[in-house]
C-alpha cells in the first residue's frame, strides 16, 4: 500500500515530467536540424540534452520524500504527516525503498 501512497504523492510531478519530456521531444523534432551546431549529429545532441533534462526531472521527482511528503505545491502539514507516517507499522528502510523505487519506476 506504500506504492499507492507513492503514486498519489508523485502523480502530478510525473505528469508534469512527461509533459516536459513530450514538449522537448516535439520541439527537438521540429528544430532537429537548427538545434544542432555545425558538424554535430542531431542524434548526439538529442542524447546529451535529453539525458540532462531527464536527470534534472528525475531529481525533481525524487524531491518528495519522507520529510517532504506533499508532492506538488503543498507546504502544509509537512511535520505532522511525517510523524503520522513514521508511526505506521512499516520499517524506515521499507519506506525509503518504496519511495526510491517509486521514483525509479516513474523514471
Amino acid at each position: 500500500m506504500l506504492w499507492y501512497k507513492g503514486w498519489l504523492e508523485t502523480k502530478f510531478k510525473l505528469l508534469l515530467m512527461l509533459v516536459c519530456m513530450g514538449f522537448y521531444l516535439i520541439v527537438f523534432y521540429l528544430m532537429r536540424t537548427a538545434a544542432a551546431p555545425p558538424g554535430a549529429r542531431p542524434a548526439a545532441v538529442f542524447g546529451l540534452t535529453a539525458t540532462t533534462l531527464a536527470t534534472l526531472l528525475y531529481t525533481w521527482l525524487a524531491g518528495a520524500g519522507i520529510n517532504s511528503q506533499p508532492s506538488f505545491q503543498a507546504t502544509q502539514g509537512l511535520h505532522g504527516s511525517t510523524l503520522f507516517t513514521l508511526s505506521l507499522p512499516v520499517s524506515r528502510l521499507r519506506l525509503l525503498a518504496v519511495r526510491a523505487s517509486a521514483d525509479q519506476r516513474a523514471a
Binding site: M1, Y4, P70, G80, S81, L86, S87, P89, V90
Partner: protein, 310 residues
C-alpha cells in the same frame, strides 16, 4: 506477562540542552483509561513521541507491550497494535478521506470495517473531500477514525478532542469509554481539558517539568484529598504548624481553605481546636489536585534554584 502496557523508567530527553523529560517514571495498567495531564511544555508530547519510537530518549528505558521502544525490528509489530492520534492532526494533503482510509487499512490486519463504517457515518466525514479542505475538528475526527478502526489493543491519543465542538467531544468521549469497556482497549491520552479527563479516565498521571508529580487511580486520589474550609468569627489566627498532610493553605478574608492529601482526621481536629471557627470538609475536584501538584512542583523547583544560587 506484565500488568503494564506502557512502562518507562527514568526516561530523559533534552532538546538543545533544554531538558524536556527529567527521569520520567510512568506505568499504564492494561485495560485502563489513563489521562496524561500537564501544562504546555510539561513533556506530554515528548513522552508520547518517545513511546511511539519517533524520538530517541537520551537515557532511561521505555517499554510498550513489554518491548523496548528502541528495538527497531519488534517495534513494527508493536506499532501494528497501537492506534495513534498525533497532536497536530496533520495528514497527507494530497489524499481524500477515502484514499487515506484505503491506504491505512491494509497495514493493519485487524482492521475493523464495522467501526470504519460506523465512524464515517457518525462523524459525518465526506469520503471524497481532500484533507486540506477539512476543518480542524473534521481532521481530528478522521484521525480518531483511523486510530480506532485499526482494532488496536492500545490507543495513544495526543489531545484527541482538540478542535471538536462540545457535542462532538461528548460523543467521542462516550465512544472511547464504551470501546474500553467492550473491547478492553487500553487508552493513554493527553489533554489539557481536566473535565474531559475526569469524565472518562480511571487512572491519571500528572507530569510537570518532565517529571511525574502524581500518578494513580483517579477515584483513590479524589478520595484521599479533601478541602477543609475554616470560617472565623473574628480575626484569623492560624496555628503556627499544621500536621503532616497539609498541601496548601489559602486565605480570603475570614475564610481559610486548606487542601489536605492525607492525615485528614488529625488536621480537622487541630482546625476545630482553633477558637471561634467552624470547619467543613469538601471533596476536591481533579482540577484542584492538578493545580496543587503543578504549583508545589514549581515552588520546589524555584526554591532549589534559589538555594543553588545562594
Amino acid at each position: 506477562m506484565t500488568d503494564f502496557i506502557i512502562e518507562t523508567n527514568q526516561l530523559t530527553k533534552s532538546f538543545k540542552g533544554q531538558p524536556a523529560l527529567r527521569g520520567l517514571n510512568l506505568r499504564v495498567p492494561r485495560g485502563s483509561i489513563f489521562g496524561f495531564l500537564g501544562r504546555n511544555g510539561a513533556g506530554k508530547t515528548t513522552t508520547i513521541k518517545t513511546l511511539m519510537g519517533l524520538l530517541r530518549s537520551d537515557s532511561g528505558a521505555a517499554r510498550v507491550f513489554g518491548v523496548q521502544v528502541t528495538d527497531a525490528d519488534r517495534s513494527i509489530e508493536v506499532r501494528r497494535r497501537i492506534g495513534f492520534v498525533t497532536e497536530d492532526k496533520e495528514l497527507y494533503p494530497y489524499m481524500t478521506v477515502e484514499q487515506i482510509i484505503r491506504f491505512i487499512r491494509p497495514l493493519f490486519p485487524r482492521w475493523r470495517h464495522d467501526l470504519e463504517r460506523r465512524y464515517l457515518q457518525m462523524f459525518d466525514l465526506p469520503p471524497k473531500r481532500k484533507i486540506p479542505d477539512l476543518s480542524k475538528g473534521m481532521r481530528s475526527k478522521l484521525m480518531l477514525l483511523l486510530a480506532i478502526s485499526r482494532g488496536a489493543e492500545l490507543l495513544i491519543l495526543d489531545e484527541p478532542t482538540d478542535g471538536l465542538d462540545p457535542a462532538a467531544t461528548e460523543d467521542v468521549l462516550r465512544e472511547l469509554v464504551d470501546m474500553s469497556a467492550s473491547e478492553g482497549t487500553t487508552m493513554f491520552f493527553s489533554s489539557h481539558q481536566l473535565s474531559e479527563v475526569e469524565f472518562i479516565a480511571d487512572h491519571i498521571g500528572i507530569i510537570d517539568l518532565g517529571k511525574m508529580v502524581a500518578c494513580g487511580v483517579l477515584d483513590e486520589m479524589k478520595a484521599r484529598y479533601h478541602r477543609l474550609q475554616l470560617v472565623f468569627e473574628g480575626s484569623v489566627e492560624l496555628p503556627p504548624r499544621w500536621p503532616d498532610g497539609v498541601e496548601s493553605v489559602r486565605q480570603e478574608g475570614r475564610v481559610v481553605s486548606i487542601l489536605v492529601s492525607h492525615n485528614v482526621e488529625a488536621i480537622v481536629e487541630q482546625a476545630r481546636s482553633v477558637p471561634g471557627t467552624s470547619v467543613e470538609s469538601f471533596p476536591v475536584t481533579l482540577r484542584e489536585i492538578f493545580l496543587e501538584h503543578v504549583r508545589s512542583n514549581r515552588d520546589a523547583l524555584v526554591q532549589r534554584m534559589v538555594g543553588n544560587e545562594v
